[in-house]
Subunit: 193 residues, 4 copies
Amino acid sequence: MNKRSATESKSKIINAAIKVFSENGYKGTSMRMIASTASISVGGLYLYFANKEDLYLTLIKEAYDELTRKVTNARNEAGSSSEALSLFISHYINTARKNRELILIQGREHKFAFGMDIKRKFFRDQKNIIEGIIQQGITSGEFSGCNVKETSKIIFCVLRGFILSLIVEPDALFSPEECSNLILNGLLKGKQK
Amino acid sequence: MNKRSATESKSKIINAAIKVFSENGYKGTSMRMIASTASISVGGLYLYFANKEDLYLTLIKEAYDELTRKVTNARNEAGSSSEALSLFISHYINTARKNRELILIQGREHKFAFGMDIKRKFFRDQKNIIEGIIQQGITSGEFSGCNVKETSKIIFCVLRGFILSLIVEPDALFSPEECSNLILNGLLKGKQK
Amino acid sequence: MNKRSATESKSKIINAAIKVFSENGYKGTSMRMIASTASISVGGLYLYFANKEDLYLTLIKEAYDELTRKVTNARNEAGSSSEALSLFISHYINTARKNRELILIQGREHKFAFGMDIKRKFFRDQKNIIEGIIQQGITSGEFSGCNVKETSKIIFCVLRGFILSLIVEPDALFSPEECSNLILNGLLKGKQK
Amino acid sequence: MNKRSATESKSKIINAAIKVFSENGYKGTSMRMIASTASISVGGLYLYFANKEDLYLTLIKEAYDELTRKVTNARNEAGSSSEALSLFISHYINTARKNRELILIQGREHKFAFGMDIKRKFFRDQKNIIEGIIQQGITSGEFSGCNVKETSKIIFCVLRGFILSLIVEPDALFSPEECSNLILNGLLKGKQK
DNA sequence: GATGAATGAGTCTTCATTCAT
DNA sequence: GATGAATGAAGACTCATTCAT
């Protein structure tokens, strides 16, 4: 019966849960797995979280909030729209890379019966930020007059795909710079960079 | 008690399994769910598949093979590299859209203890095809001299993200044309289309 | 994996459940106890009943129905009101004695969160029958003009107490005849029997 | 961290336990519930009672003792046997009504693995008192010559049923007077009251 | 071939009890 | 005295798998 402070235990649990959930998904993770990873008893888990769902939700909420905070800043720091988009992309990707656990964002195996409101809000927020950047670029004459909504969906999908690759297939990871470059300039020749 | 031919039963099971797995994930799907969707008995499932894993593996293998077949053709049908890439993208996306279940490809909730070899091979194949198209475009002077490996990873990530969106958030879906356009031309002004 | 017919298994479970619930109460009974008493696996229980509550409810419903049926007949078979009451009492007590499990009727340990509607209806029905008998006895001049409602409550309480004694303290059981006698004649001397 | 005297804490716990046990039964009551009702820590409970069972036993023992004390007096206060019986009944019922928690006496959900000796002794004592009253009434010529043992069992059952009704179904409660009246005079006409 | 009753290990969750502070 | 974090066994329920029919 190791006596730890409440906060210490809670953070041990959170870290363990992030690790185990991200490796095995929601359904594939048992409370026992989390407990043993956190070096705590099964019952101990329920001292800090009402149930498995609550634990999971806490996790993704935290991850979302952190990413949203960083990414929002990106927009404000930038001089031009190109720069804003590049910053957005690299913030997003670097945060995801560091917090491999962010993959949770994309968790999909439990039918989204819960937590979907959190997730949807997050996705909407992200897409709005991208749309804002692109719209501004078009208005300022920096970007060509593309379909804003479609384009931001595509960009968002690159990032989503990146995160999924973090778990599925680490070799698939690319650098933020190359990504910005492709999105800004495209593949075809004849664009003055 | 229905007397069906073996193949008929097997295909009923496969279709049911695709539907149910794609909606609920691997862990979220029970053999009973598959059986009842296939209008067959639980025991009947084990007449055609050794176990749940075997059934799942059969499924993704088939889905992969079909997509690979279609996508490979894309390359051969095309006149230019741009066209090849556009065809690849639209084949990929349209197939995925039609076979919503393809999302299985990306399924991640069961620790990848099995089936990972199949998946990895599939991913590698896909990326090789894209790399081939890009390389050819550069060689022929059609594309600018980008980093082939990185670029194809990014393109692959868009597609992967698209598939994930199929389940997660249908609003996020974009059109293949817009996607090809962005990838080919980029966002910045000043490219003659 | 003994193969029994569905009905056979279900009745084995019901009998086991009656026995175990009546001995240990709702909370004090585990599904494992019922399963092992029924010589069936734990999972087997859930083939026939959705959950513990469902099993319990089925039981008390059946017990109530049987008792109500028997007791209703009592009234119709009797010639006089005295006889009707005596028959009611002996039917009630004998049925309860035979189905020791009837005690479930009185189960109280789970806060009555469920099943209370069934129980209440049963109690109301029983009391109505007694009231009917007493009222008729008064009308016909057979009984003295007592407070019908109060009196039937008291009689009902004797029966309820009898059933509780079945579990708590078998020595406390009395004969239906003596009970009828006391209720009809009272303790005081000077009544011509 | 409240500094209370030991006796103060102990009585707070007892009161809380009476309340909670009587509402939820033995198995339905958790130590945490008692602790929080008593505004004490979980660990604090174990400072005064060895375990849950000990706490429960202390409770029913106290409740029994109180009732026995009151009811014993009844006998001594009375002039006649009729009066003694009436007093016994009203003391019993009124005490029970006031201490709704007395229902614990009848608690049945925990297999009676423990506490049964206490309970049995209590029941035996009560019945002996009733038997004594009846016997005396017969000897003195006040009561008719009924079967003493059977009759006292029946009377005891009315009281037991009354207590059970306290929880199960408050509408079923009757007045002590009516009860005494029925038991003394019976239902049939022709008795001079 | 096909059925579906049966199994039992495994899942989430609760709770009496202990003990470092 | 008092606290409350920690434990682990036990409970309700699920599900992949088997097998008698």
